[in-house]
């Protein structure tokens, strides 16, 4: 399906305008944009305006002893941008719930599984029903 709309090119333009590194992946339809923790919300907002209408998931992973939070954002043409940020001690991320309403459960899962502080995430009710030590990945 081709509609002439190129989400990846627009996303790369946004990244270059803000001096955010862009990395290719094994897939030609997916790229990685790396931002700092303080730019997390703004980058997500700009990508949504560039055509990233679908938030696939927000999650975290440990790569080479570094903790990254990633958000997979897709356009209507199913091209994908992986927005990524490295989390250091004391870093807090802005919640993406305002942009994509479904983000809150993903962010809750990231908090419970990886102890990443995300502003606006409720601590009162656990998603995974465990009141004692959170899961560790």
């Amino acid at each position: 399906m081709s509609s002439g709309f190129d989400f990846l090119s627009k996303a790369v333009e946004v990244a270059q305008a803000n001096a955010w590194p862009v990395a290719a992946t094994a897939s030609p339809r997916r790229k990685i944009i790396s931002v700092s923790a303080k730019d997390w919300y703004r980058a997500a907002e700009l990508l949504e305006e560039a055509g990233g209408v679908y938030l696939i998931f927000i999650s975290a992973m440990k790569l080479k002893n570094k903790l990254f939070v990633l958000a997979e954002i897709k356009s209507v043409t199913m091209d994908c941008i992986s927005l990524r940020t490295e989390i250091n001690a004391g870093d807090k991320l802005g919640s993406l719930n305002v942009i994509w309403p479904q983000a809150d459960w993903h962010e809750q899962e990231v908090f419970e599984s990886f102890q990443v502080e995300i502003e606006g995430v409720s601590r009162n009710k656990k998603l995974f029903r465990r009141e004692e030590k959170p899961l560790e990945h």
């Binding site: 094994a26 209408v53 999650s59 199913m78």
Partner: protein, 367 residues
């Protein structure tokens, strides 16, 4: 005066109100739902974490447990990501076999959903006929790979075994029986004015105003949004079947429309299976992949069209025998998120039909 009603996870799962345990709390006011809260986490097994301990070649055995109803589909999501990462070219005969197994799985899943919906409205005959037809597809999976739910059917590098003439014969018989079942369903529910009157216009998702929750699959297609990765995504050999993308019938963005969409997609899958059977090439069923298989360093996000919607699987490799991170994004998570919104101001007795119409698999929400 409002009343709080609780359904515990055991009651929800035990009475087959949903495909798994999750808790339901609703605020009821004069018979209408004022607010609804859903809690998950009762079936969390840490599958994504377990996959990081397993060699790639047996990872599919864990991946398919994410959703027991769509086991081959989840197996494909995981092995597809690994194969793309490693550059493994699956034999064409195995790709055709995979499409055959996936569409059999899709029909089975949709019939399961119809059985659930029929049970939620108290329509016992439709539920029993659906369960009877489901058994035929379980028999097919048992004939093929020994597991009635399709565990082990799709593996890294190909499929479990070569597709035999006997299996194709039994598949065609099952399709013939399914067409008779659809005629019965037509009489029992699909053309039953009482059922339609109750559910037409009930619980619209509001997709015409935007897809804020990221819904995919039959829920989206019922509302008239044309999106089906089988025809546009270019995975496996769907596009080689030269099937025209189906016309978008807007069955309606309501419980009734979602029910009719399931029936339509069963008919669609019957057509796809027929096309595969007539063009299935002979050849190897798999490329051997051993326990010491190592995927190249990198990552791949595989997206496939599952029975409930798009399944995304991210596999990240650091060049070792196991992935360093696996993440599944299931379609049912968006459906659970939208439930409180679409249930408000509806009757309490409509709660379970609405839940059943969204075809939620709690197993994949929780992982």
């Amino acid at each position: 005066m409002s009343t709080r009603l609780n359904w515990s996870p055991g009651v929800v799962a035990g009475r087959k109100m949903a495909t798994g345990p999750f808790s339901v709390e609703i605020e009821e006011d004069s018979g209408l739902i004022a607010d609804a809260k859903f809690g998950i986490g009762y079936i969390h097994r840490g599958i994504e974490k377990q996959l990081t301990f397993m060699p790639y070649s047996i990872g599919s055995a864990y991946a398919e447990k994410v959703d027991f109803i769509a086991a081959p589909t989840y197996a494909l999501a995981f092995v597809g990501a690994v194969e793309r990462l490693a550059g493994i070219e699956v034999p064409r005969s195995a790709q055709y076999a995979r499409v055959l197994l996936l569409e059999i799985n899709r029909i089975y899943s949709h019939i399961f959903s119809i059985a659930e919906f029929s049970a939620s409205i108290g329509h016992e005959p439709a539920m029993q006929f659906s369960l009877r037809t489901m058994e035929k597809y379980k028999d097919l999976f048992e004939l093929y790979c020994g597991s009635r739910l399709g565990f082990g059917a799709i593996r890294l590098g190909g499929v479990f075994a070569e597709v035999t003439e006997g299996f194709l014969f039994r598949t065609e018989k099952a399709l013939t029986d399914t067409k008779k079942y659809l005629e019965e369903l037509d009489t029992l529910i699909a053309h039953n004015p009482l059922v339609e009157q109750r559910f037409r216009g009930l619980a619209p998702t509001g997709l015409s105003k935007g897809n804020a929750f990221g819904l995919t699959g039959p829920i989206l297609r019922a509302a008239g949004v044309s999106t089906d990765l089988r025809f546009s995504g270019g995975y496996l050999i769907y596009q080689e079947l030269k099937m025209e993308p189906p016309p978008i019938w807007t069955f309606g963005d309501d419980v009734w429309g979602r029910f009719l969409q399931k029936i339509f997609e069963i008919e669609q899958s019957i057509g796809i299976i027929g096309a595969v059977i007539h063009s299935l090439p002979r050849g190897a069923h798999a490329i051997p992949v051993g326990l010491d298989f190592i995927a190249a360093e990198g990552e791949w996000l595989e997206t496939i069209e599952g029975p409930r919607g798009q399944i995304n699987c991210l596999v990240v490799s650091e060049g070792k025998k196991s992935p360093v991170r696996v993440k599944f994004a299931p379609p049912s998570l968006s459906a659970v998120r939208i439930l409180p919104k679409i249930l408000r101001a509806n009757r309490v007795e409509d709660l379970w039909p609405v839940v059943a119409s969204l075809d939620i698999s709690i197993s994949e929400v929780d992982r």
